[in-house]
């Protein structure tokens, strides 16, 4: 047991230790300074030359936003066509997998373009090599690149003394892919391959098991896909069972590597904020706030899982008390909990255990993590979400000390509060309305039959699905039959809104902040890096998440917990 918990600490500390230097490196990339990866610049120049883009063109927030949205529409259209006509084109489809039903193609195209990777299809048996590599894997790079580039625009907007230029989205996005995601993915893929993650194009292999049965085992370019899936907080597995599958995540070592990869870039971007704006102390405070929540969540989840299922214990069956249902024996309960918290905190969504089978409170923690969606958060967008909470906290704290609130020397006024408030509302709106629609649907027509579990757990499954979509997470409480037109369209729309509005809103805020005249800091100004403000910030995060979702949590995980 102690070894398990030691493993949890090891993974966390390793992530922090690697994120710090990575943060420094990311800032160099954002600033276009010299780095050891400069050998990739011919590749970037080629990309810009082919596409006819001037990567040095200064752009304000609106131009950047149009660019971001335009390019993402292209991603979506391409992905949708590739999926809907997967069986109709002759490329790289050795097992001859067919066309997709349109709502599933819509859902999946949105899912990968929005960095969500909610998978209503069934992994390796639904997607050809072409789809896996040139649709999924490619989108996993560029959707993560979109997030990181948006975050870089945000940093620049906060750094500007007075000026509308936020940088060039094309340039930042391409470099996020080539300089940040690609090198890290290569390193991680090699680690995984050395440890036995598959990387081949051999289609289905026939294997005779110990019992003498013949089973078909799917091969494929798993290692590189798993690498970017984790690093880019994508979470879409090559195989249906995701990182519980032995080909994706063969042993404890790969589990460490993948878990670190989940946390790495989201953590590094928090540090990068400090290096970019030269506000290291503030970045550490932000990191501290996130970490307090992260550690609390992990502690609850780990202790609940190790305590195990009281129903089983009551039957006198268990020898090992911990809840091992839906978990891999090679990882254990603690590492599964840490992964669960990591993957929901960062909007990654890959799993190494079945979240559905976690104890009610642990499952509730995963949802809470996604309600907040800013504890480190998804690559780039996590910090952007966090920034919204900062705006609200600064506004409240500023009033509490008798000054018109300012953030890094820029006054927060009605316009900024309005945008921040709208975006903060969006997340509960999508989750609660989505869950309400699905609850209403199943009450009116039980024959819809999505739910394999009745009662509170069934409610949790629907709540989790909507939350996962709105948090652009992508993991699921399996047990929900989600490949139906209803769920495909509902979650597809949720993912779209939940991805782009929370990017547009904060960038509109920094767009407006960046052109304001800075106000000087005085003894009467709010000190952002003080423990008092950290307390306000944590309270705002917890209260917004808790207050909006408390009734839903009560009817799902809490009702289940108390009636266990």
């Amino acid at each position: 047991m102690n070894t398990e918990i030691l493993g949890v600490f090891l993974i966390f500390l390793l992530s922090v230790g690697l994120a710090w230097p990575l943060g420094k490196y990311i800032v160099k990339v954002f600033r276009g300074e010299k780095t050891w990866t400069d050998f990739l610049s011919p590749l970037e120049r080629l990309i810009f030359k082919i596409s006819g883009i001037d990567p040095n063109q200064p752009m304000d927030w609106k131009q950047n936003m149009k660019t971001l949205l335009g390019i993402n529409v292209l991603f979506f259209v391409f992905a949708f066509l590739a999926l809907a006509f997967q069986g109709s084109h002759p490329f790289w489809n050795p097992v001859n997998i067919g066309n997709w039903e349109p709502t599933l193609a819509f859902n999946t195209a949105v899912s990968f373009a929005t960095n969500t990777n909610l998978q209503h299809y069934s992994g390796e048996s639904g997607a050809s090599y072409f789809t896996q590599l040139l649709v999924f894997c490619w989108l996993q790079f560029v959707s993560a690149g979109t997030g990181i580039a948006a975050c870089a625009l945000l940093f620049q907007g906060l750094k500007n003394r007075t000026g509308s230029n936020l940088g060039n989205f094309y340039n930042l996005m391409v470099k996020s892919c080539t300089r940040i995601l690609l090198p890290l993915a290569v390193v991680l893929a090699v680690i995984l391959m050395v440890n036995g993650t598959t990387a081949n194009f051999e289609g289905l292999a026939e294997v005779t098991t110990l019992e003498g049965e013949i089973v078909q085992v799917a091969g494929g370019p798993t290692a590189p896909m798993v690498a970017i899936k984790q690093l880019g907080t994508n979470g879409g597995g090559y195989f249906g069972p995701n990182s519980t599958h032995p080909f994706e995540n063969p042993n404890y070592l790969t589990n460490i590597a993948e878990n670190v990869a989940i946390l790495l870039i989201p953590m590094a971007l928090v540090f990068a904020f400090g290096f970019f704006l030269n506000r290291k102390k503030l970045a550490l405070m932000f990191f501290g706030v996130m970490t307090v929540l992260f550690i609390t969540f992990t502690a609850v989840s780990v202790s609940e899982e190790i305590k195990g299922n009281p129903a089983i214990a009551a039957m006198g069956i268990a020898t090992d008390q911990s809840n091992m249902e839906g978990k891999e024996v090679r990882f254990g309960a603690a590492a599964s909990s840490l992964w669960g918290v990591s993957t929901t905190a960062t909007s990654n969504g890959s799993v190494n255990s079945m979240h559905d089978s976690h104890t009610p409170l642990s499952g509730g923690i995963f949802m809470l993590d996604m309600f907040i969606n800013a504890v480190y958060g998804g690559v780039g967008v996590g910090f952007i979400n966090f920034f919204l909470f900062v705006i609200v906290a600064v506004f409240i704290a500023g009033q509490m000390i008798g000054r018109t609130p300012d953030l890094l020397g820029k006054k927060i006024e009605a316009r900024e509060v309005k945008i921040a408030a709208m975006v903060v509302i969006l997340h509960p709106l999508l989750i609660l309305v989505g869950t309400a629609m699905s609850s209403y649907g199943i009450v009116q027509d039980p024959s819809l039959g999505w739910l394999k579990n009745p009662g509170f757990h069934g409610f949790s499954e629907m709540l989790y699905e909507n939350t996962s979509a709105s948090a652009n997470n992508g993991s699921g409480f399996e047990g929900l039959g989600d490949n139906t037109p209803f769920w495909n369209i509902l979650t597809g729309v949720i993912m779209l809104l939940a991805r782009y509005i929370p990017i547009i809103g904060p960038l509109a805020i920094v767009g407006s902040l960046s052109v304001k005249n800075p106000v000087p800091a005085t003894a009467g100004s709010l000190q952002l890096d003080s423990p008092a403000f950290a307390t306000v910030l944590i309270s705002v995060i917890v209260i917004v998440a808790a207050l909006a979702f408390f009734p839903a949590m009560v009817l799902g995980p809490l009702a289940e917990y108390y009636t266990f």
Binding site: I401, I412, A414, V433, F459, G524, V536, L547
Partner: protein, 677 residues
Amino acid sequence: MSDNNTSLFSAETFSQAVGQSFAKLNPVLMIKNPVMFTVEIGTAIMLVVTVLSGLSSHDSLGDLGYNAVITLILFLTVLFGNFAEAIAEARGKAQADTLRKTRRDTLAKLLNKDGSISETSSADLKKGDVFVAIAGDVIPADGEIIEGLASIDESAITGESAPVIREADTDRNSVIGGTKVLSDQIKVQVVTEPGESFLDKMISLVEGANRQKTPNEIALTILLASFTLIFLIVTVTLKPFADFANAPITIAALVSLFVCLIPTTIGGLLSSIGIAGMDRALRANIIAKSGKAVETAGDIDTLLLDKTGTITIGNRKATSFSHLEEISDKKFAELCVISSLADSTPEGKSIIELAKRQDITVAKESIGEALFIKFSAETRMSGVDLVDGRKIRKGAWDAISRWSENKDDLAKLEAKVTEIANNGGTPLALAVDRKALGVIQLEDIIKPGIQERFERLRKMGVKTVMVTGDNPLTAAFIAKKAGVDDFIAEAKPEDKMNYIKEEQRLGKLVAMMGDGTNDAPALAQADVGVAMNSGTQAAKEAANMVDLDSDPTKLLEVIEIGKQLLITRGNVTTFSIANDVAKYFAIVPALFAAAIPGLNALNIMNLSTPESAILSAVIFNAIIIPMLIPLALSGVKYRPVGASALLTRNLLVYGLGGVIVPFIGIKLIDLVVSLAL
């Protein structure tokens, strides 16, 4: 004018406010306050539900009696919010009325174009009219003296009983309607149309008719509206959730949950906090031309203060005599007095006072028909030629040392002169018959307690700048002694203007006070410009506040009033939102306790029944509004302890307090309610 200890509710304002609370139920007025407007809608829904539940017994409608009680409490919640606003307005109005009493209709002696004088009502005076006022008259309207001078009793407006002198063609040429001429005769030109004086503007601001929301208030309203929207979503979606869980909820419970969760406490008190801020300014005898000006005052980064009258008391004063050994203390002091007998400058008078304190007096008659020499810019000396032929001269050190012939003594005196200058004083030398005898030390007397006030300002983050006509050396010394952060020496009006512009370029907000016409551009440029009531009309037009007391230290108070306004709003908001935690723990278990018994574990307050739990939460939610009215009206005290310490303190009081208080309050109400049920 004002009685600063007025109790929060007098009987008259109370009954006035009660009436207004009902008048304000008009939805057209309510919609300006989105939070309370939704409570009003909720009340209307509950009214319909109550009526329906009397007619049918459908499950989702609930019990008639219970519905009626909930409806009543929701209605009270709206009324309490309205009452908070109405009482703030009523208090402001009462304050304004005392001011207005001073402008009862009086007869004005209107000067016609042909030079004749006709009597007319003060209400008929128009801008540009000229009237005459003689001793004993009440001045009928605000105006500028165009001819003559008079001593005027302004106590009706300022509360200050000592009469003031107002004179044409000076910076002190303006008179206020309602004040009384004590002596002499003046011709005054009316400067405002009837009903448009500063006081009229201020009254309408306080009364609410023209009250516009300030920028921070608008931003806060948006935030509160968005919280309301979130809870609307939470409540509406809870219905299908509960249906799915087979735990149906009554409409009364849903509406109660909604009303308890939305920030009604701050919603109900928001405008009363704003009005109370204006009212506090008025009580400090400051007429603010807009609520925004008061709010901006709280954000001031830089404060420009005139040295004389603000930092130092009046003018320089003589504080000591030093002289050559060959002459006695008494003799030297007598010479000083004689030289100053005809000197009407404040410095000259202070020399006589200093000697008097040393029991040395010289009667003017005793020196006979002496010839007094006036100060001139060329000689830079003044003095007297006595009948016995002695010539006494007093003046700047360089002038006296040039005039004097005892060069050996000069060196001795020079040491003293340097010492005085180095200590921020001004040396004034005295010589008799071209022989320098000694030096008089003139000093600025720094107001007692002013250092503490500047320290307080520094902790608030406000930079203080002293503006003075002194030379840089003296200015630096006084600045250091008084504890100001910066100074402008040998200041000309345009120096103030430039300083303000430079500070504003750095993003700072600047406040200043002024009275003269040449201050007007700087007053207009400053973010908060406070004109002294004794100042010229131009200065008052340019400023966004007028200080009736003409007290230069009032700026410090203005800043604190502004900060207090923001702090009160911020902390009540925090309190209001923090309350939700307890309300959730009261209502949510109650909603589902029947269908999901396990959830009773969340009933950590151990409230007796689901009905009483919901009722207690709604009652708490309603009565917390009137309970906080005194806080809203008097404001949360501002403590200049530094931003982080202040935040920590307010977090503990209003944040943590906001979490804990409702747990206790709801539990207590539940104990009472469960007895009644």
